[in-house]
C-alpha cells in the first residue's frame, strides 16, 4: 500500500452538480482531498477546479487504473483535465538565456535551494557569457549561436535539444530571440517568458531610456505563457517596483531586473506546482 499525492486540474463549461460529481468520484476512489479550489468565470460560463488529494494504491497497476478511471470520468463529463503525481515525475526544465545572468542564475539558485520542484536539464544560450557562471554552479550549459543569420537552423538545433532531453517546460529567462510559431506550437502552455512592462507602454528600442525620459514612477514585469503572438500570451504573474527621477536609466534597469527575476520565479513555481489553468488568453492561478 503506497500513498500518492496527486493534483487534478479541470476546466469545463459550468453546470449544476459539477463539484458533487467530481468529489463523489474521488470519494469512491478513497482519495483524501487535502486542498481544493474552484472558480466559476461567469463571463465565460467556465468552471475551473484544482484538487490536491492523497490516494493509496496497492500496486503500480492499481495506481494506473485509478488514473484511467479519473480520466475516463472527466472525458465523459466533457472536461479538459490534467492529472499529475508531483512527487513521482519531476518536470524537466530547459532555461533559455542570452547574455544577462540575473534571471537564469536566480532560477538556478532557487533550484539549488530546493524551491523549484523540477530537474533543470540545461541552460542554453546564443552567447557564451553565462557559460562559466552556469557550469560553476554545477549545471549543464549549451551554446547554440545563430550562425550566418540562420535563425531557423539555430532553432532546429534548440528543438533537437528540447526533444532529446524530453523537456517539459521551457523558461525564457531574458532570451532575446523570438521563437517561431513552429517551435512554440508543440510546447503550448509550456513556455514561460518574462518581459518588462511600463505604464505607459513603450515601443521601440531602449525602453529604460524611454521610461527615464518619460519620468515614469513604476517599473513592472510580466511573466506569461508564450503563444504565436509575441508577448500576448496568458499572463501568469505581474509586479512593479517604485522608481523616481533620481534613478538613472541604468538604475531603473537594475531595479527592473530585481522585479523581473521575482516575477519569473513566481510564474515558474506556479507552473511547477500545477496551480495554473488557462482559458482562452487568460489564466486562473490558484494560490
Amino acid at each position: 500500500m503506497t500513498l500518492h499525492r496527486a493534483v487534478l486540474r479541470l476546466a469545463t463549461q459550468d453546470r449544476p452538480g459539477l463539484v458533487a460529481d467530481v468529489s463523489a468520484l474521488l470519494f469512491r476512489l478513497q482519495a483524501n482531498i487535502t486542498d481544493a479550489n474552484q472558480h466559476v468565470d461567469t463571463d465565460l460560463n467556465q468552471f475551473f477546479q484544482r484538487i490536491e488529494f492523497i490516494i493509496s494504491a496497492q500496486s503500480p497497476e492499481h495506481r494506473l487504473q485509478i488514473e484511467k478511471e479519473i480520466g475516463a470520468a472527466c472525458e465523459g463529463w466533457g472536461m479538459r483535465w490534467v492529472l499529475r503525481f508531483p512527487d513521482e515525475s519531476l518536470r524537466r526544465v530547459a532555461i533559455l538565456a542570452s547574455k544577462r545572468g540575473h534571471a537564469p542564475l536566480d532560477l538556478l539558485q532557487r533550484h539549488r535551494a530546493g524551491e523549484l520542484p523540477c530537474e533543470i536539464a540545461f541552460v542554453l544560450s546564443n552567447h557564451t557569457d553565462l557559460e562559466l557562471e552556469v557550469t560553476r554552479r554545477g549545471y549543464r550549459f549549451i551554446h547554440e549561436p545563430i550562425v550566418n543569420k540562420d535563425r531557423a537552423d539555430q532553432e532546429a538545433r534548440i528543438r533537437r535539444h528540447l526533444e532529446a532531453e524530453r523537456i517539459d517546460l521551457v523558461v525564457l529567462a531574458r532570451y532575446m530571440q523570438i521563437l517561431s510559431p513552429e517551435l512554440v506550437a508543440p510546447w503550448r502552455e509550456r513556455i514561460i517568458n518574462i518581459h518588462h512592462s511600463f505604464l505607459p507602454a513603450f515601443a521601440g528600442a531602449e525602453p529604460y531610456k524611454q521610461a527615464h525620459r518619460r519620468g515614469v514612477k513604476l517599473i513592472g514585469a510580466t511573466s506569461h505563457y508564450v503563444t504565436a503572438d509575441l508577448d500576448q500570451g496568458p499572463i501568469i504573474a505581474q509586479d512593479v517596483i517604485r522608481v523616481s527621477h533620481r534613478d538613472s536609466p541604468e538604475a531603473m534597469e537594475r531595479k527592473g531586473r530585481d522585479v523581473e527575476r521575482l516575477v519569473l520565479a513566481q510564474a515558474v513555481q506556479a507552473h511547477l506546482e500545477d496551480r495554473i489553468i488557462t482559458v482562452g488568453n487568460k489564466t486562473v492561478v490558484f494560490e
Copy 2:
C-alpha cells in the same frame, strides 16, 4: 419559484470524504455551486470551506426547510457552520469612533458608493467632533460621552444602542476606548478594530513620534476581531505604506491614516461578504 444566493461556511476536523459529503448534500438540494474554496490547515488538522451557491425554493417555507436540512447535516457531521442568504438579510452595522474622521467617514463614503453590503444604523462617538460630518452625509450620529469618568455607565448606554438597533457588526473606526470583556463577549467575532502597526512595535504614548525617532521605513495597519485580549484578536487584514526620514511625525500619521482606512475597509468588506472563518486566534480569509 424564487432563486436565493447563499453562502455556507464550515469548519471541522479534517477527515476523508468531507468535500464529497457536503457537495452531495448540496446536489441533492439542487443547489448550483457558483464558487467554492477549501483549505486544510495541516498544522491544526482543521478543514475550512466556503461555498457560494444558488438555490431555488418554491415558497418561504421551502427555503426554511432547505436551511434546516443543511443545518441538520452539518450538525450531524460535527461541524461549526454558518449559512447566510446575503441578498435577503443585510447586516446592521454600528460604527464607533472618537474624534478622528478618516476611518468612519471613509466607511460612510464606501457605503454610499454601494461597496459595503450592509445597513449602517449609526455612528456613535464619545465626542461631538464628527457629528456635523456624519449627519451631513445623511447618517445618524449618537453622542455618548464618558461622564464623571464612569466608563461602565457609558458602555451600558452603548450596549443598549447596539441591542435596540439589533446590531450585527460593530466597527471600531479609531474608537479610542477599550471595550470591557462584558461588551465584547456577546459580539464575539462581530467587532472589528483597526490599529497601526510598527516594525518594531512601540509601547506607550505617541507611537508616531517614537516611529519617527526610530527612523522606521514602513508604517503599517492591522485590522482584527476584538477579543478580551486587547489588540490580540484574529488578524483579518494588514498592509503597510513606505515612509522616509523626510516624513515628519505628522506626515507619518497622515500616511498611517491612509493605510488604516484601506485596511479597515478591506476587513469590513471581507466580513460582510462572509469570506472569513476563524479558528483559535487565526483567520482564514477566502478571496
Copy 3:
C-alpha cells in the same frame, strides 16, 4: 519683524557653481534654509532645485523687495523659477467631476481633514449626481451640462467659472470629457488628471472588462499634468493594486477606484506643497 516660510523652485541648464550662487544669495538675504533638494538630470544636462527657507521681513514692502531680489538674480542666471510663500496665499482649486464620486469626494474629505493646503472654490460637473453629496459636505456645486451637444459652449462656461473664481489649480477627478487645447493652454501645468493604467494597455471602451478578459494581475492608476496631448502629459504619481481571477470586472473597478483616489490625492498634494518641477514631458517630484 515677521517670519515668512518660502519655497523656491529652480530649473536651469547645469553649470558649476549653481548651488553656491543660490545659497550665497539666500545667505545674503539672511534666509534660513530648512530643506533643500537638488537633482541633476545628466541626460538632459538640467539642474533642478527646491529650497524651503524662512525669511524675516520688517514690513510687507521689505518682503516684496526680497521677492524682487530673488527674481532678479534668477533671471540674471537664466533660470526658470517659482517663488511661493505657501502660508500666505492658499491656492484656489476647482474640482471637475462627472458622475463618479470616489475621486472628488475623497479630495473633499482630505481637505476637510486639513491634509490639502488650499481653498476648494467649487466642484463642477456635467451631471447632477454628485450635487447632494458635495453640498452636504459644505462645498459649492456647479452644474454645467453639455446642451445640444455644444461642448464648446459648455467649456466656455467652465472657463468663465475658472476665471471668475481666480482658480490656480484644476483637478480632473474622473471628469469624463476631454478639454480643448484652448482651455488647457492658460492652465498649463495647473491641470491634474487621473486615469487608470493597465499592463498591457487597453484601447477602446470598457477597459475593466478587457482587463478581466485578459486576466491581468495588477490594476494601476496614473496622475499627470494635462497637456494638449490627451493622457500624455508629465506623470506625477503612479501606483498599482493586486487583482486576481476571482475579481469580477466590477471588483476590479472598485479596486481601481481605491488606487485612483490615492494616486490623485498624492499628485494634488505634491503640487500644493510645491514639490514638482517639470522639464519637457517629465516631472521631478521632490519628496
Copy 4:
C-alpha cells in the same frame, strides 16, 4: 589634471548659513556639484547633507590638499563629516553566514553582476554547508567553527580575519551567532544585519511557525546597523511580502527569504554608495 568623483556627508547642529558655507567652500575649490541632498530634522535640530561632486586635481598631492582643506573647514564648523572618493578606494567587504545560502549567495550574484561597488574579501561561516557554492562562484570561503562551545575564541579568529583583510564592511547575511560588543565596537556603523520582522513581533524560537499560527498577512524584513543592543541598531531598509492562510510555515519562510535578500541588498548598496548618515539610533538614507 585628473577628475575625481567625491561624496561628502555631513551632520551637525542646524544653524542659518550652513548650505551657503559648504557650497561656497566647494565653489572655491572649483568643485562641480552633481547631486546634493539636505535634510533638517527639526525634532533633533540636526542638519544632514550629502553632496556628490567632481573635483579636478593637478597631482595626487593636490588632491590630498583638497581633502585636508575640506576636513579643516568641516572641523572648524563643528561638523561630523566623511569624505570619500568612491571610484578610487573600493570598500573591502566580509560576508558572515551560517548554513542558509539565500542572503550571502544573492550578494555574490549582485556583486558579480556589477551592482555592488566593493571587493568581497571572503565569505566566512561557522558551518561548511556553503563552501562549495561560494568557491564555485570564484569567491574565497573561510570556515571558522565554534569549537568546544568557545565562542570567544571563534570570534577572536573572525576578528583576525577582518583585520588581516582590512575589512571596511561586515555583512551578516543570516549569520546566526550574536557578536560580542567587543567585536561590534571597532566596526561601529560598519556591520549590517538582516532579520525578519513580524506584525506583531514574536519572541522565542521558530518565528515562522508562530506567524503561521497567528495568521499574519504580511512577512517583513529589516536591515540595520549592528550595535551592542541586538537587533536594535539604526534601521536602513525595510520591506514586506504578502502571505495568506494558504502559506505553510515553510512557504512563509521561503517568501521571507525573498524579502530578506532584497532588503539586505538595498541596505548594502545604500552603504556602499555613501547614502546613509546616522544620528542617534536613526538613519537618514538619501535616495
